[in-house]
Assembly symmetry: D2
Homo-oligomer: 340 residues x 4
Amino acid sequence: MTLRVGVIGTGTIGRDHIRRLTTVLSGAAVVAVADIDRDGAAAAAPPGAETFDTAEALIRSDKVDAAVICSWGPAHEEQLLAAIAAGKPVFCEKPLTTSEAAALKVMEAETAFGRRLVQVGFMRRFDADYRRLKAVIDAGELGAPLMFHSVHRNASVPAGLYTSDMPLNDTLVHDADVSRWLLTDEIAGVEVRLPRRSRQGGELRDPHLVLLHMRSGAIVDVEISVNIAYGYDIRGEVSCERGVAALPNRPATVVSDLRGIRQAIPEDWRQRFVEAYDQEFREWIAAASAGTATGPSTWDGYAATLVADAALRAVSSGNLEPVAMIRKPELYDVPAAKAA
Amino acid sequence: MTLRVGVIGTGTIGRDHIRRLTTVLSGAAVVAVADIDRDGAAAAAPPGAETFDTAEALIRSDKVDAAVICSWGPAHEEQLLAAIAAGKPVFCEKPLTTSEAAALKVMEAETAFGRRLVQVGFMRRFDADYRRLKAVIDAGELGAPLMFHSVHRNASVPAGLYTSDMPLNDTLVHDADVSRWLLTDEIAGVEVRLPRRSRQGGELRDPHLVLLHMRSGAIVDVEISVNIAYGYDIRGEVSCERGVAALPNRPATVVSDLRGIRQAIPEDWRQRFVEAYDQEFREWIAAASAGTATGPSTWDGYAATLVADAALRAVSSGNLEPVAMIRKPELYDVPAAKAA
Amino acid sequence: MTLRVGVIGTGTIGRDHIRRLTTVLSGAAVVAVADIDRDGAAAAAPPGAETFDTAEALIRSDKVDAAVICSWGPAHEEQLLAAIAAGKPVFCEKPLTTSEAAALKVMEAETAFGRRLVQVGFMRRFDADYRRLKAVIDAGELGAPLMFHSVHRNASVPAGLYTSDMPLNDTLVHDADVSRWLLTDEIAGVEVRLPRRSRQGGELRDPHLVLLHMRSGAIVDVEISVNIAYGYDIRGEVSCERGVAALPNRPATVVSDLRGIRQAIPEDWRQRFVEAYDQEFREWIAAASAGTATGPSTWDGYAATLVADAALRAVSSGNLEPVAMIRKPELYDVPAAKAA
Amino acid sequence: MTLRVGVIGTGTIGRDHIRRLTTVLSGAAVVAVADIDRDGAAAAAPPGAETFDTAEALIRSDKVDAAVICSWGPAHEEQLLAAIAAGKPVFCEKPLTTSEAAALKVMEAETAFGRRLVQVGFMRRFDADYRRLKAVIDAGELGAPLMFHSVHRNASVPAGLYTSDMPLNDTLVHDADVSRWLLTDEIAGVEVRLPRRSRQGGELRDPHLVLLHMRSGAIVDVEISVNIAYGYDIRGEVSCERGVAALPNRPATVVSDLRGIRQAIPEDWRQRFVEAYDQEFREWIAAASAGTATGPSTWDGYAATLVADAALRAVSSGNLEPVAMIRKPELYDVPAAKAA
């Protein structure tokens, strides 16, 4: 009855997922760990778990029911294909793959297999605030969504390590995914505008204003600021025909003192989304235990890859860069009743 | 057409009302000033205004249509009686009088005159936030009001000058008046409890918890803190049978920075109630120009005096001290339609 | 490594805890169930769990490491004594016992045993909002707490089943416990005032205004309204010497539509405190796995019993009813560092 | 000492300004009225005021110290030139003029005269919320402003009368003016994007997403929705280098009932900006009494005209349309100290 999980990659996020599966959630146990750094793997493995030399060996092992991929992006394609070949459910941290071609290959393999096996790590879809926001929009009382203002602010990013492409490659994908999901829509094109540069990040290109043109005609405008100092602040407001719906302030003690009437702001994404990560894996365990996957799919990972590519092109061109998707395989059609 | 106003008393509040009547509001002009300190009166008088030696001379002057009393409390009784004798509308800063007997004497004179002439300076009734709160309660959708939590916090009071009786004598009267007005009720009894003493004010008795027992049975609990450092914070929440209604935060820029997401708090009563004072006098000018008075009445000033007396007795006795009012003269009956 | 739990009592709350221990949390398994209603026990037992005829048999079973008591209040004393006799950790839903004498007997047994075994079900202490509020107060920047305004509103209570003693017996205990914990203080006396009665509950005595006099001199004023229709609304604001700290609004989508700019309010205690219950049991599992108990103790359950008794006396007497506790056994001293 | 004002145009806004100057504010009297509809003028004139056949006659009259222009846009140019020729201060409702050429002509006349005489009716600059927001930005603690998200929502516009150019011609000018003023910057170019059309307005083009590219590089993104049903909702948030500052909710009673915890939203611009209009005229009276003008200038009216033109071009072209201003005459330089 307990799902036997193998974890591939034991960096920060991998170790955090091991902790989560071992000490927070019920229904799963980490029985295997793999990392190209064997010492890292051994250090991260919980008592009794086996350490594997390669991801492929872990995936093939009879002791492993399902895999969690936390390796670096370029390794995902091969590992995903191995999991699908083995018919085993797999959770894959973003990005699904680092190229459109690779994403298509994974999608082909999964559709050929005929059952969803892959869940991609877009944790915002499991956040209670975002879920309530989606429920309000889906209820339809406010009419159709016409605009979505999405704000993504990081207190800081590591100087030097974080390059100017990363706001679009790593950060925008969350806003893009959540836009597609909240509005039940696809992204048809991307524009990027570069506002006055913040001096907080030296020569880093920051902030960005991104416009996502949805197929329905709705427009999403995204503010991405990655060195805004004061905290990790995720905001979103959907303007509909007869009303608007927005994410609330995070719960925090309301203090009145000489600095005003005030509430603390999360410091980083861990603090902000810790419950979303828990819920993401709770649902993954349930689906994987049934031999399949729910939540963000290979299709969603593919869309994210295309949008990041279009956004990078849009920076150079200054134009509206189209996002050309293949026809959506039936496997990824979500019944309307489950969309909410 | 312009109301010719004489101002008695040119201390801080007197000078502020002269400024208000002269440069802010239309329909009135300050034509006369009186103060026991003649130099102060001369300095405060606007160009062209006459300076009087005594309040009585000012009140009797043919050039004066209406008076504003800003002298110290013990002088109010005589000045009010003079204004009523002259049949002239008069605005009187709180307290109406400093004893129950004096209040009754003024009330007798006014009822004998047969028309309201006196407006007492309870400015909260003119505050837009309080008026909206009253409108919600009066609308009745929430059912009858059962409890009212009233919070009165001062950043600080002058050490030495502000004595332990003043929270009940000077401060509580605002909460008491606004309770009677918001709930359309009278106060039947008062209890006072003394919480742990704040070290912010040395030996000053602070804070106070006051319970006002209303005739309807509703109970008002009042927190009075006069040295709370962080600002001037006036709060109020009415619990009704099917819902609650509360004063909002004051409008202030919502700043997100390292200190949190925050709004500034008013520093003092001037900043908090400046518009209420303007509105108070706007309505006084209108009524006085018609030869009468509206708003808080001699009856309300009388009630405030009784409540302050009962509160001081309650500190000593620890008991529920009754507030015994005379029967309300018809003159002070407010038509239900105007109650809101 | 997995804690083997036996659950006593399979009513609503018992079944909910079985669900929690079985499908939500890691580290525990429900291996035994007991109920005087054997069919109810059998229906509630998870697959593989044993059904016991009596609580005592369950507690003594070698298969059971720790017990969860969800029976009715009068049965708690005997079951707690059995668990302590067996040296097994036990979670006990409130009330600890239904009399002071019974509470003292349990406390004697536990102190004689020499190690804490009992955790009482005051789940608010595990709520993230309350914990953040306590952290702000304990940090001390606002100075000493002087007053605490605690608001406890239920949308409705079952007519007939919910009697006039229950606001004090069942509801107040939460505000009382959280007051002791937030302020790191004990309750020295209780007053009760009865405001105008709500017509929402017919003849039910509702609302209540309760004053808790703390040993430090701080005063807690509690509003208890149990038929307020609009939702389950738990509020709290602590007034300190140099500032105040309050519970925030619950996270909920901010909707702007014809009804205003608004956020939904929880409907009931399950919706409000579901995460607190999870966290309560997460910490219980950790402590019980180490053979002991943390969190709310027998001492806290004893205090709650005394306060409820005093509150009921205060309704009849109209007086300040003292709460006379025995000297606190060392076993229940919480190191300052762990108080937060 | 009282400013003798002549009002030109007695439509809705003209009558409202007559009321304001006559019964709300001190220091001014409406002594003359002109309208092409003589009956309308006579009906609107306060007692004692003279009625003029033409705007020019009113402006030239010795009895008139200063003029208020509330006629339709195409008439403004001639009336402004007449006021400048007469050396009389003039308040001009927006738009300053209906063409760039006309705006330049007025500016030439005023600069030739050598003293500011014209104040343009951008009332948002007098709104207390906007002023506090500007003060926070100007204080500089948050660093340079990089982005400004401005939201302009109308409950509804009159079907048929309100055409698709009006969101850019009539509505955008407020966001554009407030952007220039808040950021102490000029608009260099305009882009317009058309989101999915709202069905609330039939064939009306609504909503609009407008990007204002400021000279500093800062980007303003404006949401204009004119049929959003729920209310008149003006929002603004400025993202700076180290923090953000936003307009607060409007003060409104916080009601908790079955519809949630909620605050009412203003119904229309009158309700939202009534105090701003009062303050606008209060400051105009002060400046006009000194023979000059402060606040929004001919330069600001000229900028608004250029931005509206560029926005209309941008709808057709889909491109970034530049805003090419002449060099700013010294007359319109605002000393830095007064900028806040």
